[in-house]
Structures are given as structure tokens and as C-alpha cells.
């Protein structure tokens, strides 16, 4: 069945309401292509999204999906994966959704190493609420709520992931379609938590972190001879505040996903018609 699946099968017939030119179009296309290329189909895929422009993705994609509350997409994805290790789980979030209100969940989803893919559409601004500073906004980025800039350093999501014990850390640029798809695909194929921070420019509210900016400044790790299995090398790239990179920064090839560590293998949706056969043993325990 899967060999016949095309990436357009993951597309719904709903037209996106993202602004023309929004980076999220490219981000989503890459996610759909990565899912199709890795042999998944809409009926065995679960997409979870939070709130914000990124949260709309579940509507524009076709699969089992849940559009949840702000910042809590990762726990939902965790629940889906635990109950159904057979289901492919992809989680989408934004920089506000993931690194502000959902920062606590991010740290713990990373360290649990749940086998799912997490794509964060990072545009360094709050778009849907019309242009306030986000956790990844530059410290001098002027917005309606930070007229003189946030005056605090931006969150480095890659470093946060590294410090939390991530087994897969990558960054991509939504406009670099092939490379973005390739990176997301690696995250999907990774056994564990595949984290991809996607530069997904906001053409309406962010005139600093633009397509041109990323095109001119992004350094591709493919051309840098970077070895993602080398932790020290990954650390250097991730903590390098002078450059912006795309590519897979770090991958632990020995990663064992949470459900395997905990011996969760069964499809939990199937249960007997009544109490389990040996259920009276549960009572006898209390003799």
C-alpha cells in the first residue's frame, strides 16, 4: 500500500489561510514529502499541532490529526506513540508554542526520546497574534510589545535540546525545499525523538529574519564536513553564536526510543470484551 502513496495524499482539500509567501507552506510540503518517502500513509500517521500559524497544519494535511491547546502538542504525541507504537507520529509547533509556553514539555519530550518527529516552524515572531516578540526573537528586535527590543538573549533551541539529552538535532530552512525534506526525512527515520528547528520566515511581521537573510547567511553542514555522530563537533556547531547552520547537527546512532526502553510493543487499542482472564488474581493480591 505504502509504495503507492504520494505526498499529495497527505494534502487535505482545505486551502491554507497562511499569508502568501509564508514559510509554513514549504515547511509543510517538506513534512508531507518526508512522510510519503518513508513509506507512511495518511491512515497510519498521526499529526499533532499546537496553537498559532503552525497549529493550522493539521487542517491542511490529511491524516489522523489533533489540533490541541497552546504548547501541549508534544505530550499528545507522546500519548499517541505510547498507545500505538505502530503509528507514525509527527508533531508541529511554532517558536512560541514550543519554546515559550511549551518549553517544559520540550525538555521532557527530548529526554524521554519518544519516537516521533518534531518540526518547529521558527519565524522568530508571534504571527497569529500580529507581531509580538517570541522566545527566538533577537534581543534588539522591535515589536509592538518590545518597542526597544526584548533586551534578553533569544532561546537557542538546539542547545536546549542538546542539554536535555537529545538523540537527534537538526535545523532546516523551509525555502530550501530538497534539503529541508531530506533533513525531516532523516528525523522521521531516526529511532527516537527527531527534532528539527525549521527557519520558516514570516513575511508579514518579521523584516529581519527574511528569506534573503537566511539565503545569505545559512551555512550548510553538508559542505562543512560535519560528522553528526561526533558529540563534541555537534556541541561546537550548536553553541556557535556567530553562524546559522542547516543540516543534522547531532545524531546518536545507538538511540533506543522510549517505548522500546520501557518494553511497550503492543497496540493498546485492543482489549478483551470483559475483564482479563486472570483478573481475579488482582483481587487475590489483597488477601
Amino acid at each position: 500500500m505504502s509504495s503507492d502513496v504520494r505526498f499529495t495524499d497527505f494534502k487535505s482539500d482545505k486551502q491554507p489561510t497562511w499569508c502568501p509567501g509564508c514559510g509554513d507552506f514549504g515547511t509543510m510540503n517538506g513534512m508531507m514529502k518526508a512522510l510519503a518517502e518513508t513509506g507512511n500513509d495518511p491512515d497510519n500517521t498521526f499529526v499533532v499541532a499546537g496553537i498559532g500559524c503552525s497549529g493550522k497544519i493539521g487542517t491542511y494535511m490529511h491524516s489522523y490529526a489533533l489540533h490541541g491547546v497552546h504548547g501541549r502538542a508534544l505530550p499528545v504525541g507522546t500519548g499517541v506513540k505510547m498507545a500505538r507504537p505502530d503509528i507514525e507520529v509527527m508533531v508541529a509547533g511554532g517558536d512560541g508554542d514550543g519554546y515559550s509556553i511549551g518549553a517544559g514539555h520540550f525538555v521532557h519530550a527530548v529526554r524521554r526520546n519518544v519516537d516521533m518527529t518534531y518540526c518547529v516552524m521558527d519565524n522568530r515572531i508571534y504571527g497569529l497574534t500580529k507581531g509580538q516578540a517570541s522566545p527566538t526573537s533577537r534581543s534588539d528586535f522591535e515589536t509592538s510589545t518590545t518597542p526597544e527590543g526584548p533586551k534578553q538573549p533569544p532561546v537557542n533551541p538546539l542547545a536546549l535540546a542538546l542539554a536535555s539529552g537529545a538523540s537527534f538535532i537538526a535545523q532546516s530552512f523551509s525555502s530550501d525545499a530538497l534539503r529541508h525534506q531530506e533533513i525531516v526525512q532523516k528525523a522521521v527515520e531516526h529511532d527516537g525523538f527527531g527534532f528539527v528547528n525549521v527557519f520558516s520566515p514570516c513575511v508579514t511581521f518579521n523584516d529581519v529574519d527574511t528569506y534573503d537573510y537566511f539565503r545569505d547567511n545559512l551555512v550548510d553542514l553538508k559542505e562543512e564536513d560535519h560528522d553528526p555522530t561526533n558529540y563534541e563537533a555537534a556541541k561546537q556547531v550548536i553553541l556557535d553564536s556567530n553562524k546559522e547552520y542547516q543540516g543534522v547537527m547531532y545524531q546518536d546512532e545507538d538511540s533506543v526510543p522510549y517505548h522500546e526502553q520501557h518494553g511497550v510493543t503492543e497496540d493498546m487499542s485492543e482489549i478483551p470484551d470483559g475483564a482479563p482472564d486472570d483478573a481475579m488474581d488482582l483481587v487475590r493480591e489483597f488477601y
Binding site: S12, D13, K14, P42, D43, N44, T45, F46, V48, G58, T59, H62, S63, Y64, A65, L66, H67, G68, V69, R72, P75, V76, G77, T78, G79, V80, K81, M82, A83, R84, D86, I87, G104, H105, V107, H108, H259, H262, G263, V264, T265, E266, D267, M268, S269, I271, P272, D273, G274, A275, P276, A279, M280, L282, V283, R284, F286, Y287
Partner: protein, 585 residues
Amino acid sequence: MAEDLNWAVGGEAGDGIDSTGKIFAQALSRAGRHVFTSKDFASRIRGGYTAYKIRTSVDRVQSVVDRLDILVALTQRTIDENLDELHEDSAIIYDGERSWEAEIPEEMNAVDVPLKSLAEDAGGAIMRNIVALGAACEITGFDVEYLDEALEKRFGGKGSKIVENNKEAARAGQEYVQEHYDLDHLGYDLETTDNDYVLLNGNEAVGMGALAAGCRFYAGYPITPATSIMEYLTGRIEEYGGHVVQAEDELSAINMALGGARAGARSMTATSGAGIDLMTETFGLVATSETPLVIADVQRSGPSTGMPTKQEQGDLNMALYGGHGEVPRFVVAPTSIDECFWKTIEAFNLAEKYQTPVFLVSDLAMSVTEQTFAPETFDMDAVEIDRGKLVDDDSVDEWLDEQGRFRAHAVTDDGVSPRAIPGTIDGAHMSTGLEHDELGRRTEDQDERVQQVDKRNRKVETAKETESWDYREFGDEDADNLIISWGSNEGALAEALEYLEDDGIDVRVISVPYIFPRPDLSDEIDAADETIVVECNATGQFADLLEHDTLTRLKRINKYTGVRFKADELAEQITEKLSEEVPAQ
């Protein structure tokens, strides 16, 4: 009323009070006696007063009373805290060699046993509580061999040497009392029977019910007094292919459980007070996305952090009204420990049949209290599973629209839509907390909004017609006086009846396990001269509901000291309340 014995062990947290009490309770249960336990503990790990109390009788016991017959006191505070309940025939077992000088009222039986040195002789000071248990057996004429059985159960895993040492410690306590005191068992002769009872508390019953009901996924965050549900499931749920996740917070816990439920697993989370507040954010999403989820709230004293280790039934309004907007829900509140088991199973069935969140509301008193039951009380053959309108690869077809899209939120007569879980071919669909159309896609269309709101509310109407929302009643059916209660007060009320009967007061008691939907009690209230609503909160949240339902002013008995109702105390309060004037209509 059969002869009952009220026993307690008290000391500082960390003194092994809980395990000492549990061992004695198990010994009594092994001897075919009924047991009802209660705990008094502070919110700290070490230090602070803590006590474990046991009421035991050959007849069923389901409440505590204001009387203490035997007290094992490891500290002076244990004596001071319980002075009100001690009486002139009470015996107090204490260690006179300890640094504190016990001040024991003269009229009581002071039983000074060198607990520590006898324990050391038997193999270690840690066993001083077991020495006290041996002494208690001697004082009450209870065969110490039952204690041996409980010690084997408790320490069997640690090797025969440990078991033998403990048995020796118990014998040392027994013999010391034999040699130094002539108490003639204080008149007690604890009868034993051949019955094999099981001894469990409310949280264990909830956990056992969840496993019986096929719960496979549990996510929670530790909070008193709900944590022991998670502890029970951990290690057991795996045997059925399930899993427990300790989440980073309650927000995560309920979202994980939501994910598990949407993936098709019977899923659950449990918390208390402050944790429910955090979960409320996602509660509306659970309801609007029509996800079957069981959310247990084991109430404790609030508001805010309140008194975390004390009893209260103060979250009823939260369970009924919590969350912004208007969402259908079921609120089920077990009234006894055995009902904790059955109502948990029912909660899972309701959740899946109606694709709604179900609040399972329990309380601290019930959650930590252990009680004996005949094992058949938990007859697993009687467990029924109803998964509702789950569709499969074949039946999904009839729910597809013209474009072949699955109508996950189809508007139906009964308000319940088909449910396709991931993996069902052609069942892929989107769900959201946004108002949505039949396909689950966002809409602000006025007609679709009204259709979906009505559809969700119709589930409650269907459930009201289809399910039984009954109550339990006891006492005199024709009595002029009606007492209504919810939650764990039922046991105390059942026993209060016996005191009231002795005083010639006839009472009909109705105990309601359903808060929403709930039975209509108008006829019952109309038929009574006087109605009193009993609950462990200050404002009478359940009484408010009944007044709203029946347009009748009701008398109220409210306790919010942090301590559960006691049977004899409740009987007194009822007598007093009945003599008060009826409130103005």
C-alpha cells in the same frame, strides 16, 4: 451492633506507623474479622504526628467512631492528640524506657513495655512496633498466629530470617504483657471466622477497576492523595501490555492521556485539587474533540494548597462547571471503596460510549481507607466492556461524505458520532478544540456551530434516557426524616443509623453516586418532612444542586475540619439538626 475494637498506633512520620497498622489490619482480616482503617498524617516526610487507626468487628464495619480502646503510643503527642477518644477502659501501650515520660491519665490502663530493648533482643530496634503488636494481641486476647501470617506476607520477600525475627519480636511483646500485667484481655475476646477477606483502599480499588476495564495507558503527576492510583498501576498495567508515564506536570499528563485515548487506548489520568485546575485547560479540548477520557479527582482540602493530607469534598463545583465555555461531561462519584472499583469500570464505558470526558470524583478519606470485603465483591466475570461506536475498515464506509472524507463529528440523533482510531483505513480525520464541522475542520458558521453544540449536549440527553442514574438507599423507607449524601460519607451514615435507631429516630438515607447526570430526588424530598444534606465542605455544594433541582430549602450538615465524619458524631449532629427549625422557603 456487634462488639467492635478500636485500635491505633501513632508516632512521628518515619516511625513505620503505616506499615505497623497495615500488618495488624491484615492479621485481623486473615482472622476473618472485618476491618475499617483510617489515617491521620501530616504533609511531611519525617516528623510530625501520624496515626493509623483500625476499627474491627466480626460484622461489617464501614466507619470510624469517636472511641479508641487500644493505643500504641510512640510519642506523648500521640496520647495528647487522642485524649478525646480515649476512655477509662482504654489501654495505652508505650515504652517507659524512652526519653519521654509518658503522661497517661490515671483511670486508663498504662501498659509500659520496653519496646526498644525487647526488639533489640529479637534482632533489631526497628521491630519495636512489632513488639507492640504482640502486646496488643495479648491485651485483646487475639491469637498471635494471625499476626505471624501477616508478618510472613509482609516480610516473606526479605527472607525467612527477617520473618522469624519479627515473629520473635511479637512473641516478646506478648509474653512481656503476660508476665507483668493482669489485664484479663480487658474483657475482649476477639472472635475469628473462616472468612477470607480482601483488604484494600479506595485508590487501589480505582486502579483495579481500571485494569479490569481494559485501561492500558495512564499518565499522571504525583500529588497527594491521588498518587497511589499511579503507584498501583505501575508494574501491574504492563502485564496487560499497558504503560504508565509519570509526566512533567498535570498539563502534560492530561494531554498524554488525551493522545492515548485518541490513539484508541482506554486512557486515564488522576490528580487532586490543584492538579485539576491545571488540567482544566485541556478539559475543554477533551470534550470538544469528543475524546473518551477518564479523569479521576481524589479531593483533598482546598483551596490553593489547602491542607494536602486532609479530607474534603470541595471540588464538586469544579467537576461540574470547571472549564471555560459550556461542555458536556459526566461526573461520577463512588460512595464506597467497592464502588470505587465498579464506578471506575462504568466511567470507562461511559467515556467511550459517549466520547466525553468523565470525572471520577473520590476523596481523601476513601482513597487512604482500607476496608475488608468478600472477594466476590469484585466479581471479574460481571465486568462488562462497551466501546461504543467504534468503526472498522468495513463499517467506516457508511460515515464517509461524497468526497470520501470521514465524518468524525457527524451530527446524529443520539449525539454520538462514529469513532475511527488511527490505522482504520479511510478513517483519517482531524480533531480540534476549535469549533468544527462534521469533518472536524474549523468553522464559524452559525448553523454548524449550533448543530455541533446541540449534538454534544444531546449525548447527555441520550445518556440520561439510556443509562441508570440511580442512588442507593437504606434505613427506613417510610421515615419522615431524609438524609442525602454523596461520596465517602455513606459508611458513616450507615452506621449513624444504628445509633439513631437506638434513640428511636427513624431515618431514610439516600446516597448518590452520580453528580451529573444525577437522579431527580424531588419526590423523595417532597415525601419527607425534613431533609438534611450531609457533605464534607463548608458551603454545601451538593445541597445547592438539590435545592436548584427541587426548589426546596434543605438543611445541611457540613464538616470541613479536614477530618471525615465519624458515625457517632454524625448521629448526634443529625439529632441536633432535626430539632432545628426548617429554613424559610
